[in-house]
């Protein structure tokens, strides 16, 4: 496996239904190794030990919001360089743009299709690596 292969995915969402279906989508369909977290705080705790290639971060969560988690990740040396993909039930197009500007490598719209989600993640990852 080369350095550019996407292998480990950390998924952060406060909703258990979504965590379950995303794990299924990423593990069964995408073949990735997945770790799920129910909150931003949990993600900050797990990320250094799990060492994900990418973090999928829900935007609207109670407690720390997705952008706040991203900010905190960037503030810590061990997680500062981990690429982040936001997941959001976007209401307006400019929100997506704003999220990208925060430093995420991509945005996946919710609701997502479990059968194609891992493909979306891989595509965003590939674009990021080529850059």
């Amino acid at each position: 496996m080369t350095d550019t292969a996407l292998c480990r995915v950390l998924h952060v969402d406060d909703e258990s239904d979504i965590r379950e279906v995303a794990r299924l989508a990423l593990e069964d369909v995408g073949g990735f190794t997945v770790e799920s977290c129910a909150s931003g705080a949990q993600a900050l705790e797990k990320a250094p030990s799990f060492g994900p290639d990418v973090i999928l971060l829900d935007v609207m969560m109670p407690g720390m919001s997705g952008p706040e988690v991203l900010d905190a990740l960037r503030g810590r040396p061990e997680t500062a360089d981990i690429p982040v993909i936001f997941m959001t039930a976007k209401v307006q197009a400019q929100e997506v743009e704003a999220l990208t500007k925060l430093g995420a490598i991509g945005v996946i719209e919710k609701p997502f299709d479990p059968m194609t989600m891992s493909g979306q993640v891989a595509e965003i990852w590939d674009r990021h690596v080529v850059r």
């Binding site: 239904d17 299924l24 369909v29 039930a89 209401v91 609701p111 997502f112």
Partner: protein, 562 residues
């Protein structure tokens, strides 16, 4: 382990979807409970907390439901979220109307949620070999609600053949007898498709398949659509399979298969024929009663739902006839639609506070008649039975009185009334000139001048009245004022040009608009160019000039004389 027995990712997803669907009503209940804090509205500062909380919950549902296959819930939740977001951004007081809008949105979400939960519930296992011998065609928008409904109906023992939209016409009965066509109000052009389907079934299988009309709302518009679809039954939300199946069973009673039944009481053969043809063309059963004395006999053998009653019958006042029908116990629920003698009669009705929506004005616009008839049928079959009687019966005496006092001349196709008999000294075949002006003195003065000149004057004092007289009497020339209350010259010219019978009658416009006594050419262009008048005279007019102009305008008769 959750997926211990699952065979594939698809099965696992299905199981997750079912679990989510089953949990949906709970999630939506949570949303509704949170939204109660917004009820009635209030200052933004006080409500910003609840607004954000409800928005967050709606946002979560919007972002999640679609992943599990419940896209309609995502869409609806997104609508609710958008409204909340707008309110949050505005930072203005949250009004009671806004709160009510959110409540309605959440109620719609809950309805979708119940349907989703039904779908998610494990279906009662049906033995595969026992394929139902009877089916229904379901014409409804794609979505969870329809999926759920189809599933429920199938569990009641019918095969369901789904048609997503009007373009999808692959509707063969597939070996099972089609018991009903179910059409949902939200399918564009659904009424046309289901009528076409029914015709196909009728032709191919000699079967009269009833149409059941399904609607989320029981409002008037929906009931009207049902009539247009030719539906035999109307089912409003909640659209549950039990009600639908019960309705299908009830429709087996032969009488309910019958199309809408209309009796036309009209002694004018031409008009009666036109009405009957229009109704038959819409798939209704229509019977003409020419002699009012036959009406009750006819009703005994033909169970009418609607009577179209001319108020100007030659031998009896239509109002009296209506009273006779409605006083009869068996016929009190029949709707009666009156053909009014003209707009002026309607104006008199309005003056005494009787809504003229119950009257179709003569000359009868067949499309308007059909549309109004559909409204009556919607009430009679799917709405308040006897509503029309309840609305009108108390006013019948008043209507009869108005009818008698303001009796108007009958149509050209009937015997001509004394009102249009030429004044003394005017020959019977004198050319007729209609004068329309709200200034009665001017009309009288012109009439005298016309009579002296050997012309037969006809008078009208409003645009509406002018059109009616023109339609009834076919004058050789029409002279009309432009600015009149009760239908301007503009209106009159428009109607005259629209009607085949009056289109070619030359019209001269009189107007007080002048430029220092000179002709206003801009106005002339307006009257002659746009409105189709042939001439234009500025007031004050010279009666001699007027008569000369009339002579110029009168069409040349076949004998070469004017």
């Amino acid at each position: 382990m959750l997926f211990g027995n699952a065979r594939s990712t698809a099965d696992k997803l299905k199981a997750l979807g079912a679990a989510y669907g089953a949990a949906l009503p709970g999630k939506l209940q949570e949303l509704e409970t949170a939204a109660r804090a917004l009820s009635g509205g209030g200052a933004f500062e006080e409500l910003s907390g609840p607004l954000n909380e409800v928005r967050m919950l709606a946002h979560k549902i919007a972002g999640t439901a679609g992943t599990f296959g419940f896209q309609a819930i995502t869409d609806q939740a997104r609508e609710v979220e958008k409204s909340l977001l707008a309110a949050i951004k505005a930072e203005a007081p949250f009004t009671a109307e806004q709160a009510a809008g959110i409540e309605r949105g959440i109620a719609a979400l809950k309805a979708l949620g119940s349907a989703a939960a039904d779908t998610a519930a494990p279906a009662r296992a049906a033995p595969e070999e026992a394929m139902p011998a009877e089916s229904v065609v379901l014409l409804a928008p794609q979505g969870e609600a329809t999926d759920a409904l189809a599933g429920q109906i199938e569990r009641c023992g019918y095969r369901v053949r789904r048609i997503g939209d009007a373009a999808d016409t692959d509707t063969g009965p597939g070996g099972a007898r089609v018991r009903a066509i179910l059409v949902h109000a939200d399918v564009p052009q659904g009424h046309k498709v289901c009528r076409r389907l029914r015709e196909d079934f009728r032709r191919t299988f000699r079967a009269n398949v009833p149409i059941l009309f399904l609607s989320q709302s029981g409002d008037y518009r929906s009931r009207l659509q049902a009539v247009r679809a030719g539906a035999s039954a109307f089912i409003a939300a909640p659209l549950d399979a039990a009600t639908i199946v019960r309705s299908i069973e009830e429709l087996s009673a032969a009488t309910m298969f019958a199309p809408y039944r209309i009796v036309i009481v009209e002694d004018d053969d031409v008009l009666a024929g036109q009405c009957a043809e229009a109704f038959e063309g819409s798939g209704y059963a229509a019977r003409i009663v020419k002699d009012p004395a036959d009406l009750l006999d006819r009703l005994e053998t033909f169970e009418a739902e609607l009577i179209v009653m001319d108020l100007s019958l030659a031998v009896v006042n239509g109002v009296e006839l209506a009273k006779l029908v409605w006083q009869h116990d068996h016929y009190r629920d029949i709707a009666i639609l009156f053909l009014s003698p003209g707009p002026e009669f309607n104006a008199r009705l309005l003056q005494v506070g009787i809504a003229d929506e119950f009257f179709v004005t003569r000359p009868v616009d067949i499309n308007a008649l059909r549309a109004v008839a559909a409204r009556y049928l919607a009430d009679a079959r799917f709405g308040r039975r006897g509503a029309n009687r309840a609305d009108l019966f108390p006013h019948l005496d008043r209507i009869a009185e108005l009818k008698t006092t303001g009796d108007t001349p009958r149509r050209r196709s009937d015997a001509r009334p004394p009102a249009s008999t030429p004044p003394e000294g005017v020959p019977d075949d004198a050319p007729k000139v209609l004068v329309v002006d709200d200034d009665r003195h001017l009309v009288d003065a012109i009439a005298i001048k016309l009579s002296e000149h050997g012309l037969e004057p006809l008078k009208a004092f409003t645009g509406e009245q002018g059109f009616r007289v023109a339609w009834e009497e076919s004058p050789d020339v029409i002279i009309t004022d432009y600015d009149m209350p009760g239908g301007s010259g503009d209106y009159l010219l428009g109607r005259l040009k629209d009607a085949e019978e009056t289109r070619d009658i030359p019209v001269m416009v009189l107007t007080a608009h002048t430029l220092d006594g000179q002709k206003d050419y801009a106005l002339e262009r307006e009257f002659i160019g746009r409105l189709g008048a042939v001439s234009y005279l500025a007031k004050p007019i010279s009666l001699d000039a007027l008569v000369a102009e009339i002579d110029r305008l009168r069409p040349v008769r076949s004998d070469g004389n004017r």
